[in-house]
């Protein structure tokens, strides 16, 4: 039992180190939460690009596993979450950083991170069509999965009710 608790504490140590590093670099981080092997960092919209650059260049997180939109109609916001992971650094391959930011629901616009992580191409496009979030700088922000003649509101928004519900 002692052994497992030891390895667990060292695991948490690596995450804490990464989180502390991020915190010291960006003092206006809104929120950092740590779980074993998972770090979530919430930043202001205008800091998104800087933080993303730092996570890519200095921490070595070389690809994004997914881009997710989350609708919060009560606070009139969307949250955009980038889950980031690495192949290059073998020591932290198990860690996933979730980089998130909140944007206004009335003017859903954020910077595309495709110049930093080309792997976000299709995930960002999907988030665009499912939430109507505009990723500025994305080269091909078009419909991907939805029918070409879709003329309702973006379907993953909470105020879109599927027929029969």
């Amino acid at each position: 039992m002692l052994e497992t608790s030891n390895t667990e504490s060292t695991l948490i140590e690596r995450e804490q180190k990464l989180a502390a590093d991020l915190k010291s670099r960006f003092d206006d981080v809104l929120e950092i939460t740590i779980k074993p092997k998972r770090i979530k960092i919430k930043v202001k919209l205008e800091k998104l690009l800087d933080t993303a650059n730092y996570i890519n260049n200095n921490l070595g997180f070389d690809h994004s596993t997914s881009v997710s939109g989350v609708d919060y109609p009560n606070s009139k916001e969307f949250e955009v979450v980038y889950h980031l992971s690495t192949y290059g650094r073998e020591d932290i391959r198990d860690i996933v950083i979730a980089l998130s930011t909140r944007i206004s629901r009335d003017e859903p616009k954020t910077q595309s991170l495709i110049s930093i992580w080309p792997s976000v191409e299709y995930s960002e496009r999907e988030t665009f069509e499912m939430f109507g979030i505009i990723f500025v700088g994305h080269p091909k922000l078009e419909k991907l999965l939805l029918p070409e003649d879709w003329n309702d509101i973006p379907p993953l928004r909470k105020d879109f009710k599927p027929p029969g519900r």
Binding site: V81, V96, A98, L144
Partner: protein
């Protein structure tokens, strides 16, 4: 030479509906743009209207061949939020099912590869051998393809003792037959000619584009979630990650062949080490506290991840599914460049792209 634009699909040549828009110069592809979405079902939206248990069967649907791999991360995420630890026997049964599904999915891959090559024996053999493992999965989970077998807190039912004997017999048989696969298919000059050096995806590109699964490992990156971000009882098991530096279609097929061998080894180890005990926690109701969880597993086609947000209610607040096929979609423009039109189908199938899984 003048260019020709050609739309391939969406009526499928053997794998579900999707379209690739090609630009050709003579016989050679100079540009390929994938156009998915023909089998989109809105799984993420559906999941917001069903309880955590009701979600299990329909979330398996997009990945029928690998139903355990598809539902595994969802179950892990729910358990992470509920903060429960699953009995060890259930963990082993889950791994056995996951590996059986890997073999079933990989055999289907080999079979359709045969079709795309016009090699009918290579279609018949894997489809026949698949039955052996489908029967085995049927013995454990009580269904042939879509099991809804994994539940939060364990697995739905215990497996019968007879599985040990049958699995041993199945593995012994299949190990011998795999050598035949190599002789008639992998080392077939026709197959080699159309896949070796075709559909190149360099290591740098594979990393840059965040590619997953056998496609990633065929491009020289030794990464597998079972080792890198280990879950369940994989850390107690001894297995290899096959990796190749050839970066082409042939090596992708080879990785699948080797992974089936490793999966059989894992199943054998699990059956040897599986302890007695309960297979399910006695949860009266599934009450998921507010919070969020990100979980991922190595499904047959690669990393499959779930991002689950709960607001404490009966249904999930948000379920984000990221499947390996959707992530590997990004490779299509790269691997198709410079390939002859006639070799387009095997190159496409090489990355084990499954439209239904990609569209969700």
């Amino acid at each position: 030479m003048s260019k020709l634009s050609l739309s391939v699909g969406p009526q499928h040549p053997g794998s579900g509906h999707m379209r690739i828009i090609l630009t050709l110069s003579g016989d050679y592809i100079i540009e390929a743009i994938p156009d998915p979405g023909y089998v989109h079902r809105g799984e993420e939206k559906l999941a917001e209207y069903r309880t955590y248990i009701q979600n299990i069967p329909h979330l398996e649907r997009p990945v029928l061949l690998d139903a355990t791999g598809a539902i595994f991360p969802y179950i892990l995420a729910v358990e992470d939020l509920m903060n429960i630890i699953v009995p060890e026997r259930a963990q082993f049964i889950r791994v056995i099912m996951a590996e059986l599904n890997r073999i079933i999915s990989h055999l289907y891959y080999m079979a359709i590869y045969g079709i795309f090559m016009g090699h009918s024996t290579m279609f018949m053999w894997p489809v026949g051998d698949r039955e052996v493992f489908i029967d085995l999965a049927n013995n454990i989970a009580g269904q042939r393809v879509s099991y809804a077998f994994l539940v939060p807190g364990g697995v739905r039912n215990d497996m019968p003792e007879i599985v040990k004997e049958r699995a041993e017999k199945a593995c012994n048989y299949f190990e011998k037959h795999l050598i035949e696969y190599e002789r008639i298919f992998m080392n077939n000059p026709l197959f080699e000619k159309r896949t070796k050096g075709v559909g190149i995806l360099s290591k740098q590109d594979a990393i840059r584009l965040g590619v997953v699964g056998p496609t990633l490992r065929a491009s020289g990156v030794k990464s597998d979630v079972r080792k890198d971000d280990t879950y369940s009882v994989y850390d107690q098991l001894d297995f290899e990650i096959p990796v190749s530096n050839a970066c082409d279609s042939w090596s992708r097929a080879w990785i699948h062949m080797e992974e089936m061998r490793q999966s059989m080894s894992i199943i054998r180890q699990c059956l040897k080490r599986i302890p007695a005990g309960p297979v399910k926690l006695n949860l009266k109701q599934i009450k998921v506290p507010p919070g969020e969880s990100f979980s991922r597993v190595e499904a047959a086609r690669g990393t499959l991840s779930y991002y689950l947000i709960s607001d404490g209610g009966k249904v999930p607040y948000r379920v984000r599914i990221m499947t390996p096929s959707f992530r590997n979609l990004i490779t299509i423009p790269n691997i198709m460049k410079g390939v002859m039109l006639a070799d387009m189908p095997p190159t496409y199938w090489g990355i084990d792209y499954w439209p239904v899984e990609a569209d969700r």
